[in-house]
Amino acid sequence: MILPTLAARWQALPVRVRGNTIIAIPILCLITSLSAVAWLKMSLTEDEMWVQHTQVVRLESKRLLNALIDAETGMRGYGLTQREEFLAPYYQAQAVIPRSLTRLENLVQDNPAQVAQMQVIREQVDATLALLVQKISLQRGRQQGQPPDVNGVTLYDWLNAGKAAMDATRQAIDQFAAVEEQLLQQRQAHQDHYQRVTWYVLWISGGFGLVGTALAIHLFWHLERELTTQATQLQTTNRQLTAACTQLERFTANASHELRTPLAAILSNAQVGLMDWEDWEEGEPPPAGVRQRLTKIVTLTKHMSELVRQLLWLARQEGNDTQPPPFGAIDLAPWLQQWANEGQSQATAAGLTFTAEMPATTIAVCGDGALLGQAVINVLTNACRYTPAPGAIAFRVIPAAAHMLLEVQDTGPGIPAAALPHLCEPFYRVNPSGAAAGFGLGLAIAQQIVRVHGGELRITSEVGAGTTVAIALPRLP
């Protein structure tokens, strides 16, 4: 339900919009996937940085611890042996420890909890180092023979305090390291998660890209097909228009000829008649020419008036094409007889034989008998006019199931196939320079009458054998 509506909406869009949309689909897919990947890549890089940072912190805290242990171990060795070289690790540690502390403080500046922890560590380390310094100075005093200004109990307390300080420091550093370890794990997990998400996003955007490209190709083909169809339709319309134009041109040329010819004859006859009249002098017998010319003018004017009447009838009918006049049901039988009689008399006058075949039953059609008669008589007149004697005209009425066929067949010279489609055009003549007997409107009028009756007029002809004009009228049950 939705898809056809969408398709219809899509069809209704202008070609420019549709073309832009088709181009936009893959471009949008590309931009979306590129920005998603770029964002994820940035996150990953940040994660990596944090992981590295945490590892550096861990290493540094380990180094600090080691330095402390080295210092204590060195101090103990010196205490036991009283030899200066055992103090080397202690001095080294003394140089390393403050640097290490400062570096660690710098590294964890972003984390307030760890900064506080660092404070604790620093205090512990300072305390431990102070105790170590005290012990070493005590040892040195003993070595130089100075009496110790502390008794055994105090010494024991010192040793205990040193151990406790060292343990506390260790514990603080371990705690610090544990926090960092936890942070590292968190960050690694985060990094793994983002890596997975990046893959998913890549796959999904790849899929979307493929689907989008396929859609774009489909829409493009669709559009191309549509444009091709439109171009074909345009070509067809163009051809039809050209044909209509040619027909109109032919009509105006022929109409101008047919209207001017009688006018030219009337004008010349009237002017020459006037000249004759002016030459006539009283007393002479009245000029016979003038009377003849006036008679000719009357005949020509009547002829022209009939031509104008027929032309106007055609023009009005063609304007009325959409609205057929309201016809009633009539029985064709009596009319058929009348038309056959008319055909008979015309054929006899032209020296032709005439045969009529019609059914005896009543034939009901919807129409106007007089109007249909004009069409049939026009066709019969044409047959008689263009069939040389001795020829034959056959008028046949063939009732079919849905249609009623009226056929007029002659044994005339026939009509070339090229002329057949134009026969019903007003003023069309197969042989324009041949002597013209009628106006050239008979078939056009006949076709128009048949058309308003919902029927069809067909002409078949074979050159040398004759022509058949068939009028098919819809039959009433």
Partner: protein
Amino acid sequence: MRILLVEDDPEQREPLQAALTRSGHIVDGVADGAIAQTLLHDQPYDLLILDWLLPGVDGVTLCRQVRHAQQSTPIVLLTAKDTIAEKVQGLDAGADDYLVKPVDVAELLARVRALRRRSPHWCGDVVAVAELTLHLDTLQLHYHAAQVQLKSGDFQLMEYLMRHPRQVLSHAQLEHALWTWDEAPESNAIASRMRRLRQRLQPLGVEDWITTVYGMGYCFQPPSPS
């Protein structure tokens, strides 16, 4: 002038032929292009008036044939075809004038006169022999102060005689020149026309200028100046 008028519609041809004849021309009226072609071979014409659409050979083709045969006879195309393209086509085929039907008879006659003036043989609208002058436009004959108005038939004969002075003209020559192609002269037709012409010339006193050469024909003989 001898004019060939080719027009297939008798209703149009007849009045034009009558009007041209009244103006003193000898007009061969023909309905068919093919007949016109034959006549053009038989007889020299001074002017051709052709319709375009004709049975047999159409007017434009006839026009081309005439020009192709290197003849400069003036040609008027008289047709219902009225587009510029058709006029150009007609004139390019060799016509000297193109008139669209319906044409005013007075205009046609004026154009015929105009084309006559373009002829290389034209020497004014009069033919003069000695003191006798024949006016081609008005069909009048003047001699000193006197004048007579001639009818078309008499004028045609008089013009022919005056154009061939001091020559013996046989019956056959006169028939060929003065009768249209579709008329056969009766046996005494020339004699009776001569008689009538002499009567017309009586008021001027020049009727004796036409002499009968017994057994041969007629001769138009103005008196010698002596």
